[in-house]
């Protein structure tokens, strides 16, 4: 793995995208790395498009600005594909993970991904509804990212999901999120 991995999240307010970035940072910390997680703060409204970022590195992270050239682009809400260019600035070998029920090949075509770029699809919203009963796709997205990027083991990720959700939610919700993370890990498909 490269010295530094930069991730850009695209979601809508209320979907747990910022929480997902935080959980990922926390999970990567456990392996002794340096981490950053930060959203772009605008007028915060449910449903409004938002971006969040992660940097994960074996070296000290000094850069304090948005990620311009992400290696991983995580699209938590596929409707954003019609309104913003989520591929903007992505590296030539970027990995896209999109929450969609569509075939990953169709998403690949929509993104006009270059040959070096990889595109993955995961029906995170359906998994969330199955496991948690609500359309909160962040846990399966984390599972999918875990699988594709290998930046952190599934066990570390599950541990952090348990820890982060454990502060606020009931055991049922925690178990649901753990199951959703595992299914995200297992069900993500490349196009």
């Amino acid at each position: 793995m490269a010295d530094i991995i930069e991730i850009r999240w695209h979601g809508r307010g209320g979907q747990g995208t910022v929480t997902a970035a935080k959980v990922l940072a926390d999970a990567c910390l456990s392996s002794g790395r340096h981490v950053q997680a930060f959203p772009e703060y605008g007028p915060e409204r449910a449903g409004a498009p938002l971006r969040a970022y992660n940097r994960i590195s074996s070296k000290e992270l000094r850069m304090h600005c948005p990620v311009l050239n992400p290696k991983v682009v995580s699209v938590v809400d596929a409707t954003l594909l019609d309104s913003i260019n989520v591929a903007d600035g992505a590296t030539n070998d970027a990995i896209f993970v999109v929450n969609t029920s569509k075939d990953p090949k169709e998403i690949r075509a929509k993104l006009k991904a270059s040959p070096g770029q990889r595109v993955f699809a995961i029906d995170a919203t359906k998994i969330a509804i199955d496991c948690i009963g609500r359309a909160l796709p962040n846990a399966p997205m984390l599972g999918a990212i875990c699988k594709i990027t290998n930046i952190v083991s599934l066990d570390s990720m599950l541990e952090d999901v348990r820890k982060s959700f454990g502060k606020k939610f009931s055991q049922k919700i925690i178990d649901g999120n753990l199951e959703a993370t595992k299914r995200g890990y297992g069900e993500v498909k490349e196009g």
Partner: protein
């Protein structure tokens, strides 16, 4: 054992304050500092600290409460931002003139109007000459470390002055980074027991605070205040040395980065200094002798030491995240120019205003400025002395 966490700058400052466990805090919420006191008040409610928390109706009262509690003989802290600091204005001078060692976290934010909640240094720069010590912080780790050290500096028996710890709003206050926390016991031991000096509540030895001082003595009083400021740098360095023993982290009056043999350099505060360091590295890889100076102790400003560190360079750009209106230069530019004034041979200086109201400072901005400095060093001529960067014209 130190603990490694992924935490926001605000979270780290709140945890430092919990570890210090002050006697009294008086506070009023304002974005982006709110989070510090929100977390701290939970510590109070959950019995994690013994602090007496006074929730007031404005920042003017927050600082007044701190002043009263500090004069009474307590260890006192608060936090604010932007308009909150502006509303404290007259009280800031009373805290410093009365020599009260209050510690305040200042989460730097732009001033209104127009209303803006994002990071910029206008608030802290406006209060730079109010007699408070100022420590500026690049990231969450430095904000945490500076908060702990600020108590020792402010409360030093040779100093007894209020101190503010500055960190960038949102960019640091709300971003999660890897931070190393010290043990609670190590921090407690480091800040030591609070030592009172002429406490109002000592009924056996009554004292008066806030007397009227007429022209016959006012100037001597101010002279003494100016004098005590000269003692601050040594205390800051001594405290930093002690802090290094418990943390392994080194602090000085300012940080120099690849500056020793540099020909061109940036002078820049807080989070943008980190971004700049990565760009300095890429210029070094191209064989360009670039460096950086990041002030930490901004008040009192270590003019002599800064001048000495910069005097041999060919060209320097001071980047200000605040402007001083009136057609003049940015506030830090004026300080850097003053620090270089005594030298006959000195670098050519330029000033850039960047990042106001949270405008992103990108690596490309640092590249632009460094390229300009290389050109200035070559030709000995600067085209524009002061300019806004990253702005639509």
């Amino acid at each position: 054992m130190a603990k490694v966490v992924a935490a926001t700058g605000n979270e780290a400052v709140a945890d430092a304050l919990r570890q210090v466990n002050p006697d009294v805090s008086s506070a009023y919420p304002i974005t982006p500092a709110t989070d510090i006191m929100q977390r701290f008040t939970s510590f109070v409610s959950n019995g994690k600290v013994k602090t007496e928390m006074i929730l007031v109706e404005s920042e003017h009262s927050a600082m007044s409460g701190c002043i009263g509690a500090s004069a009474a003989g307590g260890r006192v802290m608060t936090a604010t931002s932007s308009q909150g600091l502006a509303l404290m204005w007259e009280e800031l001078f009373i805290a410093s003139g009365t020599r009260l060692p209050i510690v305040m976290a200042l989460v730097n934010r732009a001033l209104s109007a127009p209303l803006n909640i994002h990071g910029d240094h206008s608030d802290g720069m406006g209060a730079r000459d109010c007699g408070w010590i100022q420590l500026w912080s690049e990231n969450g780790q430095e904000a945490y470390d500076n908060t702990i050290q600020a108590f020792r500096i402010a409360e030093h028996m040779d100093i007894r002055l209020p101190a503010m710890v500055c960190l960038d709003g949102f960019i640091i206050s709300h971003s999660i980074e890897r931070i190393e926390y010290l043990d609670d016991a190590a921090v407690k031991n480091f800040v030591r027991e609070f030592r009172q000096l002429y406490p109002l509540l000592d009924m056996e030895h009554p004292v008066s605070y806030g007397p009227l001082i007429l022209p016959d003595y006012y100037m001597e009083f101010r002279r003494a205040q100016a004098e005590v400021m000269t003692k601050v740098p040594k205390v800051v360095l001594d405290v930093a040395k002690d802090f290094e023993k418990i943390s392994g982290r080194k602090y000085g009056l300012f940080e120099t980065y690849r500056l020793d043999d540099a020909e061109v350099a940036l002078v820049i505060l807080n989070s943008a200094a980190g971004t700049s360091k990565d760009v300095i590295d890429s210029f070094r890889e191209k064989g360009i002798k670039a460096g950086l100076l990041k002030p930490r102790l901004y008040r009192p400003f270590p003019y002599e030491e800064v001048g000495n560190a910069l005097k041999n360079l060919k060209a320097v750009c001071v980047l200000d995240r605040a402007d001083a209106f009136g057609g003049s230069y940015g506030p830090m530019f004026a300080d850097i120019a003053a620090s270089l004034y005594p030298y006959r041979e000195r670098p050519l200086l330029i000033n850039k205003i960047y990042g106001l109201g949270g405008r992103d400072y990108m690596p490309s901005h640092a590249e632009l400025v460094l390229n300009e400095l290389v050109e200035i060093a070559k030709t000995g001529k600067a085209k524009t002395l002061k300019e806004y960067i990253g702005v639509r014209e």
